[in-house]
């Protein structure tokens, strides 16, 4: 499961750190205690920035890095399609062998195909992606407030 691409992103993460944004969420993975705080900045319909901070395993860290690299600069509708494709791949329990079309959409993220065989790790790979989905929904629906409280705040 530890493709070089994954290890690369793990060791050299893209876009790490918290920067300005219109919405912030905090997600946790209760099975292992991994956590992520993630902010999105929308520039109109375009994903302006995805900034994040947190602790987690190589899979969850690399996946956040890939998320940033892949979605920032994309039109939000396209970004959401990519997110859905990634979700589908990760939930496939190893049954989807990514084809060229999928590779074109997911780029580096196809490296996570192998992770989908390990149900306990799928949540790690999805942590940042679900946080992004959540944050984006908030950013699109509410007035900008980068430090807003979140539904899943830890105590």
């Amino acid at each position: 499961m530890y493709q070089d691409v994954i290890l690369d992103h793990y060791k050299h993460p893209h876009g790490r750190g918290l920067r300005d944004g219109q919405a912030e969420v905090h997600h946790v993975n209760p099975t292992c205690g991994d956590e992520i705080t993630l902010r999105v900045r929308m520039d109109g319909d375009v994903v302006g920035d995805i900034s994040y901070e947190g602790q987690g395993c190589s899979i969850s860290q690399a996946s956040a890095s890939v998320l940033n690299e892949l979605l920032v600069g994309k039109d939000v509708a396209d970004a959401q399609k990519i997110q859905e494709t990634f979700l589908e791949l990760m939930q496939s329990r190893g049954r989807i062998e990514p084809d060229e079309a999928m590779e074109e959409v997911l780029e580096d993220a196809v490296a996570f195909a192998g992770v989908s065989k390990y149900p306990a790790r799928v949540k790690c790979a999805l942590l940042s992606w679900m946080a992004w989905k959540d944050a984006t929904a908030k950013a699109l629906s509410t007035a900008p407030d980068p430090s807003g409280t979140t539904p899943e705040e830890t105590a």
Binding site: V28, P30, T31, G33, A120, R121, E152, T154, A155
Partner: protein, 425 residues
């Protein structure tokens, strides 16, 4: 002595019990110096097929590990098997979502779980002193005592439907029993003592009219008929594994997703949390919110195998088999002098548990003399003492059938009862 009566004609709709019985090792038991076991105590618990036992064995021998938290092979296998069992049970009862299936230790825990959820719930679900709880007089103690406790502890009023003389629910006063104050109506789908199959629709409709939740105790239904929680229209359905060819130690509560989201947890502990600090905790989404601690892993997996076994035969076919057998049994029991059926006297809207009294011979004595002939029935109040009080009897003898029961076993029972009468005559 147990020759079939000469007039017996083939019954329509019977299963191939000869083949089925080969799957159940316990049915080969010989008791009391060579008497073949005639197991007619299925309403208490069912026997288990080899397929279920093999599943248990291979789980323990190959994949045994704690679930949900591990990254090693065994933990992944155990988790997949355990969660796979949830999928199977969800499909078995036609649940809209697998996340609506909560594993408990038995039906009693499932019923208590709902009572406790409602006791600690916020509005609009909260049961408190201004509200009412409705049950029926034919409930199993496991669907009476949790509500008595809840009513004592919250001040809510406990009300119930009475019974008609022929063993059915008396719904004539349904408007007075279920009112705007009613928060929950909990009733049994098939009575374990009377055999009555209750009219779900009328009760659910009235409950919905007043905004009350409905819990159905399907402990005696899930083993014997196709169960469709969506068609039932209830909010919660409880049943128990050991009565449906599954292991002991496993029960199920199905509940509607939005309720499971809104209602508070019951048992606290590992597995049911999202995050814990010393100061406060948040909870995992259902079903895990209601599954504190290491679940009955092997038992859930065994229940999955049980559900596979029953589905392969077909729940409708099992129901038809039991219906034919019940009809035959009622007919033959009518031949026994001084035998009185307690419960519906025909097979219409009736399950395969038949309670009766035999003159004034005490059920303990009936059961004991039957046992000496290898015939296992249950005697007592069957955890439904209010039914005995209602009909003015101390107890009953109950014979109850399942997919492997045969007309010859009915005949053996009837012959056995003749011996009981001779003995105490």
């Amino acid at each position: 002595m147990t020759l079939p009566p000469p007039t017996r004609r083939p019954l329509p709709g019977l299963l191939d019990t000869e083949a089925i019985r080969k799957d159940f090792p316990a049915l080969d038991r010989v008791v009391h110096d060579g008497k073949k076991l005639v197991y007619l105590d299925n309403a208490a618990t069912s026997q288990k097929p080899r397929q279920v036992l093999d599943t248990l064995h291979s789980y323990y021998e190959r994949s045994n590990a704690n679930v949900h938290r591990g990254v090693h092979v065994l933990a992944e296998e155990a988790t997949a098997l355990y969660e796979g069992a949830r999928d199977k049970v969800a499909a078995f009862v036609n649940a809209p979502s697998r996340d609506e299936v909560i594993f408990t230790k038995n039906a009693s825990e499932s019923l208590n779980l709902v009572a406790n959820m409602l006791g600690w719930a916020d509005e609009p679900y909260r049961v408190d002193r201004d509200t009412e709880i409705v049950i029926t007089e034919m409930e199993h103690h496991s669907n009476i005592v949790p509500w008595q406790l809840l009513s004592q502890r919250t001040g809510a009023t406990l009300k119930w439907f009475g019974l008609t003389d022929d063993g059915r629910l008396d719904l004539s006063d349904i408007e007075q029993v279920i009112t705007e104050k009613t928060k929950i109506v909990s009733f049994v789908l098939v009575s374990n003592i009377l055999g009555t199959v209750n009219p779900v629709e009328a009760i659910v409709r009235r409950a919905q009219d007043v905004g009350a939740l409905v819990l159905i105790d399907a402990s005696q239904a899930a083993p014997h008929m196709a169960l469709d929680v969506q068609a039932l229209g209830a909010d919660f359905v409880a049943f128990t594994g050991h009565k449906m060819v599954g292991p002991t130690g496993i029960g199920v509560l199905w509940g509607r997703q939005e309720l499971l989201e809104d209602l508070p947890p019951f048992l606290g502990g590992g597995e049911m949390i999202e995050t814990v600090s010393m100061h406060s905790s948040t909870y995992a989404p259902a079903p895990h919110k209601f599954e504190a601690g290491t679940p009955p892993i092997a038992q859930a997996i065994g229940l999955g195998a049980a559900v596979d076994y029953l589905s392969a035969i077909g729940m409708d076919k099992i129901a038809a088999h039991e219906h034919a057998l019940t009809e035959y049994a009622l007919e033959r029991l009518r031949e026994v002098p001084s035998l009185r059926i307690v419960g519906p006297e025909t097979a219409v809207d009736r399950g395969a548990a038949i309670s009766f009294t035999l003159g004034d011979i005490h059920p303990h004595d009936v059961g004991q003399v039957l046992d000496e002939q290898g015939i296992a029935v249950r005697v007592g109040h069957h955890c439904a003492r209010p039914v005995c009080l209602r009909y003015g009897i101390p107890a009953t003898t109950r014979a109850s059938f399942y997919l492997y029961s045969t007309p010859a076993e009915v005949d053996a029972l009837v012959d056995g009862l003749e011996q009981v009468r001779n003995f105490f005559g």
